[in-house]
Amino acid sequence: MKKILVFLLSVLTFSAQAAESAEGGEFSPGEMITHHIGDDYVWEFAHGVVLPLPVILYGENGLDIFSSSNFYDEHGGLRPYKGYVAEHGHIYYANEEGEPRMVQGEDGELKAVGPMDFSITKNVASMFLSVILLFAVFLTIAGRYKKTRGRAPYGVQSFFEPIIIFIRDEIGKANIGPKYERYMPYLLTIFFFIWFNNLLGLMPGGANLTGNIAVTLVLALLTLLITVFSGNKSYWGHIFATPGVPRWLAPIMIPVELIGILTKPFSLMVRLFANITAGHIIILSLFSLIFIFKSVAIGPVSVAFATFMNFLELFVALLQAYIFTLLSAMYFGGAVEEHEHHDEAHAH
């Protein structure tokens, strides 16, 4: 058993090494990792298995939609197309030489300029895939509930039901209170959206969607908006006239409290982004060791560590989804909570 495992690991690392060396050139782990956790115009499932994705641009030439395969020649090299050129994960306007057009910015530095880029990138495609999965799973479950009203759950329904009940009881009810019902759709959606995308990101060739700042920014922003718009009198009262704090401290307290409103979703954004990206970086770094040391011996060690990390990441995928949902629920709870012990607070 052990021998087979070692053999398997060696074969895996051999093939990986072979693939990498075939590409030629010096191996740069930093570049490789940045490339893997970043976005791309194509979806590379494995070396050579590439799915070109649609590019959607809006700029000085109006709306342009074409396949990203137009940017690549037969040898996999880059080439300009329709006056655009793709470089380092960005699309710029091409100049006469087929290079990104540089324009002097306000600060005097030369900057490449490009059109507004609404392309279906690897991350967007991965998100669409997760959305299809979400719909497939939860519409099926909803159908089951309609079909077997009041009966015991079965199949995929019994897998997700405890999770849904956990989110409702332990996250929603426990943190928001009696008004939890209003927030359940959002909480359930972010939990499963984050969890599914975290898991998809762990798949070989998967995109690093939840480790992308744009995605976590949108999620955190939604939490912020819901918190602010559901804030009741006592919530705003605590911000603009914190109970138990002398009046003359208000000029300090109000800015602090207002910053507090923003730091909460900011921490949500950074936490999810950093955790998922860090996990990807660690796993990729462990694999990079093989190529840095150029040794077969390091292969099994690297793979063992990476396997361990992958299991840890499976846990982190769930944990981060839970934390994001839990903290969102706590912020909502704070916004709708009725404070009835102001006098008590004064007494302290």
Binding site: N123, Y145, I164, I213
Partner: protein, 164 residues
């Protein structure tokens, strides 16, 4: 810096997709799921409450039955006692009546015997008188068949008359 700079395209797609997902899942998944869960929980809850109530009802029913049984038992005791009493009373009164009747009948019999006796005695007396008269007649007739005897008799009567 690249890593922490949100890309416009992804921002746009994320906002659009997430809002669509949120809307569609809320409408077609979470609403029916949460509704069904709540419904099931309520039905389980009400079933348990009903079971508890039924248990209590059973207990009270049992107590009721016990009480009814006891009452019935007491009633039976009472009826039996009453019946015995009535029977005893009936027997007693019958006995009294019978003895009274007996006494009355005995008295009646005695009276009628007395009457009969009296009547019989009277008859006997009458008969005896008649018989005596007859005997006396016959005797007298025989005695007075001859002159002599008649004279003697008259003589005796006369003598008696003289004496008195």
């Amino acid at each position: 810096m690249e890593l922490v700079t949100p890309a416009l395209g992804l921002l746009f797609w994320q906002v659009v997709t997430f809002l669509v997902v949120l809307f569609l899942l809320s409408k077609f998944a979470w609403k029916p799921i949460m509704g069904a869960l709540r419904e099931r929980e309520e039905s389980i809850d009400s079933a348990l409450t009903m079971a508890e109530k039924a248990k209590l009802e059973m207990q009270s029913l049992k107590a009721d039955n016990e009480r009814l049984l006891n009452e019935a038992r007491a009633e039976r005791e009472r009826i039996l006692k009453e019946a015995t009493d009535a029977a005893n009373h009936l027997v007693e009164s019958a006995r009294a009546k019978a003895s009274e009747e007996g006494a009355r009948m005995v008295e009646q019999a005695r009276l009628s015997i007395e009457n009969e006796k009296k009547a019989a005695l009277t008859e006997v007396k009458n008969l005896a008188a008649t018989l005596s008269i007859d005997i006396a007649e016959k005797l007298i007739r025989r005695e007075l068949q001859d002159e002599q005897a008649q004279r003697a008799l008259v003589q005796s009567y006369l003598q008696d008359a003289q004496l008195s």
